[in-house]
Assembly symmetry: C2
Homo-oligomer: 403 residues x 2
Amino acid sequence: MVAGLATGMSIVVPDKKLEDAGINVFVAEVTKVDAEKKKVLVSDGREFNYDKLFLSTGSSSFIPPIEGKELKGVMALRGLPDAEKIKAFIAENNPGKLIFIGAGFITMEIASLLAAARPDAYDITVIELFNRPLPLMLDKDMADPVQEYLEGKGFKILTGDKVEKIVGKEGAVAGVELGSGKKIDADMVFMNVGVRPNIELAKDIGLEMGKFGIKVNKFQETSDPDILAGGDCVEKVNFITRKPTAGRLRGPAVMQGRLAAKRLAGYDIEFPGVLNAGGCQIFDLVVSSTGFTEEEATKEGFETVCATVDSRSKHGMIPGMKPWRIKLVFDKKTEKIIGGQIVSHSVPPVREIDAVSALILGGKTVSDLTTFTNACNPDISAEPSMEPIPVAAEAALQKLKRP
Amino acid sequence: MVAGLATGMSIVVPDKKLEDAGINVFVAEVTKVDAEKKKVLVSDGREFNYDKLFLSTGSSSFIPPIEGKELKGVMALRGLPDAEKIKAFIAENNPGKLIFIGAGFITMEIASLLAAARPDAYDITVIELFNRPLPLMLDKDMADPVQEYLEGKGFKILTGDKVEKIVGKEGAVAGVELGSGKKIDADMVFMNVGVRPNIELAKDIGLEMGKFGIKVNKFQETSDPDILAGGDCVEKVNFITRKPTAGRLRGPAVMQGRLAAKRLAGYDIEFPGVLNAGGCQIFDLVVSSTGFTEEEATKEGFETVCATVDSRSKHGMIPGMKPWRIKLVFDKKTEKIIGGQIVSHSVPPVREIDAVSALILGGKTVSDLTTFTNACNPDISAEPSMEPIPVAAEAALQKLKRP
């Protein structure tokens, strides 16, 4: 018998499909796991025995200990209950001045969705510590057009600044004070500055911990061979550097769950490590990235060769053509591709970033990428002579070496 | 001095950009190349000397020697002049009954564009020798939904049949007679059944020929070291089998031109071989494929393991979600991915097929693909648990082996 413990964003309810597959779902709070006796205890007193246990306890929003964070109108978004809270607050208080702390992708998606839902209803200010929006996905040269685009939509974006304090009035948000000394009025403040793994239960069991969460091997097994774990609660390994990393994104989380299931079924498939491939949509702008940004790669000790080029979503002669920008990051020493970023105005977006991920996984070099041939067609892609991956690779090749 | 000889679909005219780059463009018919004296002769008597010569003489539509092919109203589409001819014929003759011979991607694109431009104006019949439309891109299980979709648009699709004869009346098309004995009336007949490389000039020079065109090495050099060639006029090598192949698609054609340019500039980058990755849009249906179909792979001597799964373009909770179908083809012996097909209703389409190409180029196996993690986001992609590549790989894994 396999028991799985999950917490998190989606509330799992008994479901016909799961039932038909022989899976029993119990919604209950786990109070203790007795790993010696292989028992799970839940809050209503019931006990469940297991042969194998899978932990997917997820992560929680992390709100830093900033003054004023408890004021009415300070919001975080993680799951459905948070969304309901935000909706109710807006309906009740009709806020006009919104401040978003941190220009990460979830925050920017919320900001754009609110602005799109009620055009001109909000005065939106974004405050970001880095020198650009989406700093973990994009380097400055890729983030600049995103910032311009958002400013064109009326967003005020303050980069290189920090919220020191949230100021209140009668228990509700009234504004923020920044490190630069600026003061900004606000009716509502969004904070989405990060998540922390939910590892209390795993610690209580006595499982080995890494710096970023529960330690697992490449088959998702913890230090207790009968307990597997996956998702936001575990420490992952970076595919490129093989170093431990947090890697708290939806894609690898689900992949680790599937991998653990395959392990329990007897397959020996290894988790390859994370690339932190991610995407988001902000109004009709689609941003995606994989592997390391130039900035991250430099921090990791790589000497890089990068190229940023502009392309387009379709052949120039086809109506509806939209601009693209792509950046590729190569390791100068091995000449291998280690990262990519795409900013595109196509909706629904082209997912060329997945090809970049696959090329990284294949250990491909800048020369290899100059010959990467996409499935081209005037409706689907730029002229082959403007295809973003080979054209950016050519630009990088010319920086790397000239015969 | 490098001379380049091109023919083909686009008429190259002198252009400021080319001029600024120091490139002189002459539009003239080449009558002879004297490879001994390194001279190009053109029809108006001029001569051009070269150090290196690049041939991109392209290919031409091949119209089989079928009875009635010279009748008025029998059309092929290759370049702009053909398109103008089609337009003029329609304006003059207002044809109602259209027959398309061969359900290849160019033919199906023309049919869908004509039908979309004047809804209900045409009675369209497609006659295909294979048992399905798009037979070089899709296996039957992938082509079935395409056929259903086209029939839903009013197309009549006759598969496993062949046009024996085009019947005329007063010099114009009146109908066709099929191998099955069927007779169909027609005002206009489209034939796009293939292309042949333009190799007369290369033969005249005395260059070595392959079965599918001019023979070149991995740097695009012909048997004359000072003459390079690329595109539809050269024989290519298949990436997977390393066997000679035609590979007459836009993508590799352009790539070979760029590769030859890099060779001339002193780079030693090799052409990796073709995967025949291609895509087309038929109404709002996007079809793409790469590598071998199951049928082709079997013909090539592979024992295959395949999986076809249905997925969707976005998270189920996001408006505008459209269905996808994906098929992956694996070599049973090496367990490596050797082909992929995607049929999708997304416009503009998702280009996940390029990721499949990159995974083939990386030599990845079915196990590797079960852990392929896309840049997921509810707006951009299905739930990670429905992502087409890993889900199809899992289905193939279960067919391949059970622990």
